[in-house]
């Protein structure tokens, strides 16, 4: 099949379509970058985001609320935990799932849920077997609330970026009807360009990409019926983003 493609490409002189005044194909260079250059760029971006943290948080909030997500800025770990508990209680949750994200430990969620009588199954912890034996998924199916951290958050579109890892399962933010995402303030970037620079520098993406990277922008939605917007289809119906400051 490849030789057929090569044959097709060679037929005749180089392709120049009639509509052509936007940059010849020669002008495109896929971006190589030395790892030093990548590191430097990543550092610049991180520094810039630190400086602009307040405005990034505000922008994130505006964009999130525009698309029907709920935003909460927690001044402390304690207030973040309280918010999560309030949401779980309001949803009458008896069962919740989470993965192992440092931020979830930081806010002391496990103890708080225990106190409320909400059963929390955390992937990779006692009672929820590792990896392929599939015990996490059934718990996620039964749960009303799924709690995760994130790897990055994008302010200009209120997008959460989660890289799949051991003990940070995809289904925690997918199966339960309510998803609560805990974001560390320092994880917020301005947009996609920042993200792609950092993701390369941080993760050696070309060598070992994660099995999945998921971008979450608001709750699930569809307009398939008469182009009427309905929020909540197969993915979560409600999304809460808690930015944990301090």
């Amino acid at each position: 099949m490849l030789s057929k493609i090569r044959g097709a490409l060679k037929s005749g002189p180089r392709a120049r379509s009639a509509s052509h005044d936007y940059g010849a194909s020669e002008a495109y260079q896929p971006a190589p970058a030395s790892s030093t250059a990548l590191r430097q760029r990543a550092q610049q971006i991180s520094a810039l985001c630190d400086e602009r943290r307040e405005s990034l948080i505000k922008r994130f909030q505006t964009e999130l609320e525009l698309i029907g997500g709920h935003f909460y800025l927690a001044e402390s770990a304690r207030s973040a935990c309280d918010y999560v508990c309030r949401v779980a209680a309001a949803e009458n949750a008896k069962q919740a799932v989470a993965g192992r994200w440092p931020v979830i430990d930081r806010i002391g969620l496990a103890e708080a849920f225990r106190a409320l009588g909400i059963h929390l199954a955390v992937d990779g912890s006692q009672g929820v077997a590792e990896g392929g034996s599939g015990e996490f998924i059934p718990k996620a199916i039964e749960s009303v609330v799924g709690i995760t951290g994130v790897d990055y958050a994008l302010a200009d579109t209120a997008t959460l970026v989660l890289l799949a890892k051991k003990h940070q399962p995809r289904s925690a933010s997918l199966l339960p009807p309510v998803h609560i995402a805990l974001v560390e303030a320092g994880q917020i970037l301005s947009g996609l360009d920042d993200l792609f620079a950092l993701i390369r520098a941080d993760h050696k993406f070309s060598d070992e990409p994660p099995s999945a990277v998921t971008f979450i922008t608001g709750p699930s939605r569809t307009a398939d019926i008469e182009l009427t917007l309905v929020v909540g289809v197969h993915g979560p119906q409600r999304l809460h983003v808690v930015v944990v400051g301090g």
């Binding site: 099949m1 057929k4 493609i5 097709a8 490409l9 037929s11 392709a15 379509s17 009639a18 509509s19 936007y22 940059g23 010849a24 194909s25 495109y28 896929p30 992937d123 990779g124 590792e130 990896g131 392929g132 599939g134 996490f136 998924i137 200009d156 799949a164 890892k165 003990h167 399962p169 995809r170 289904s171 997918l174 996609l192 792609f196 993701i199 993406f205 070309s206 990409p209 099995s211 999945a212 998921t214 971008f215 979450i216 922008t217 709750p219 699930s220 939605r221 569809t222 307009a223 398939d224 019926i225 008469e226 182009l227 009427t228 309905v230 909540g232 289809v233 197969h234 993915g235 979560p236």
Partner: protein, 473 residues
Amino acid sequence: MRVPSESFAQRSSAAAQNASLQARLRVLNGFIIKRNLAFAELEDGEALRDRARAIKEHAIANLDRYLLQLEESVKRLGGAVHWARDGEEAREIILRLARERNVRRVVKSKSMITEEIELNEAFERAGIEAVETDLGEYIVQIAGEKPSHILAPAIHKSKGDIAELFADELGIKDLKEAEEITRAARKQLRENFCAADMGVTGANFAVAETGTVALVENEGNIRLTTTLPRVHVAIMGMEKVIPSLDDLAVFLKVLARSASGQKMSSYVSFISGARRAGEADGAQEFHLVILDNGRTRILENEANRESLYCLRCGACLNVCPVYQKIGGHAYGTVYSGPIGSIITPALAGFEQSKDLPFASSLCGACREICPVRINIPHILLNLRSQWMEGSAGSKSGASFLERAAMRLWACVMSRPRLYNFAHKLLAAFQGPMLNDGKFDRLPFAFGGWTEKRDFPPLAKKSFHSIWKDLKDE
């Protein structure tokens, strides 16, 4: 790819007179308004479109290199790559994978390419249950119909139609509002997701550098399809490959904005192979099927090659005055609208889709809105002339009479004295044929022209003779 035998002219006539279809299609204007707002919000939307086009131009011009690199990258991740020359080979590959792995139930996400190869029918024949999980696709599947729009497959149905469908086929009664219907579908499909052995998706983009398949959606069904079943098969047209990960930054910015005016769709998934050791979810096996099915034919034809840059955003459908009037089903093809009219001749053969390049007023709205600036009107003209001249091995599409008339016309137009004589002759005798000063009915085969419009009369005196008179004065 089969095309129904009833003619395009009949189907489009019927559709144009269908008032309720018209009402539903009119809502597409909303997408255009949102799309324009979303692009205006960008710092430099035009530069982004140029960049998107440049990436596609480069990728397609080096298609063999990038497909090879894609294969290496996927294999390095432990995935398998299968090459399919046509729809039949693709079906065989996927069915074999299913059989070998004891697959009984399949869930599918919305994928135009699986329509193209008629995968669902093949699954059915093999006794494998394959359920569409995108809400619009689910609806048309239950109805036994084909999708009528790339993004909103069930746009031709009213919510009353859909509620009735759910009552008749699923036994779920008393649904009235869109929200109720959606909840019912969510509940039903959740069971399908959990029971499925295999998930089949398309691919919006495939990154050669990393072996990553990028998938864009709003409902969450793609996430479920790639997270729960143990086998994931992604099938892509070979033109979907892009060189590097960073290219996705450009495409993610333009795709959702072009398609539905959203800054970002609800979910984007980058799938790089199967789950890693210790992960609780994700497929255990990943397969990528790379399909040709006529795309090399488009590649060969340089003038039409840019139709391979298409992102399948659906914007050209939304803005096309023809599509807005007749809807997707009238085209009778998998891919409808302006993009459908230019790729179907290569994918399904000219004979079957000859009406499509002609069903356009060449207004150019599609070219204006295309995120990768495909010059659709130009390609439509190319296809028309290819058809008329009978290039690519087929005989001319024009009838003997049409060719003869054209030759006569060319002969007269290139001989000034003959032209002047013909003019004097016709102008003298046209009187009785005119109605209210115009030809509203031309005789013989020319009647086709005047069926829908008038033909202007010949001037009593030609410019030549007026000029001559003036000079003599």
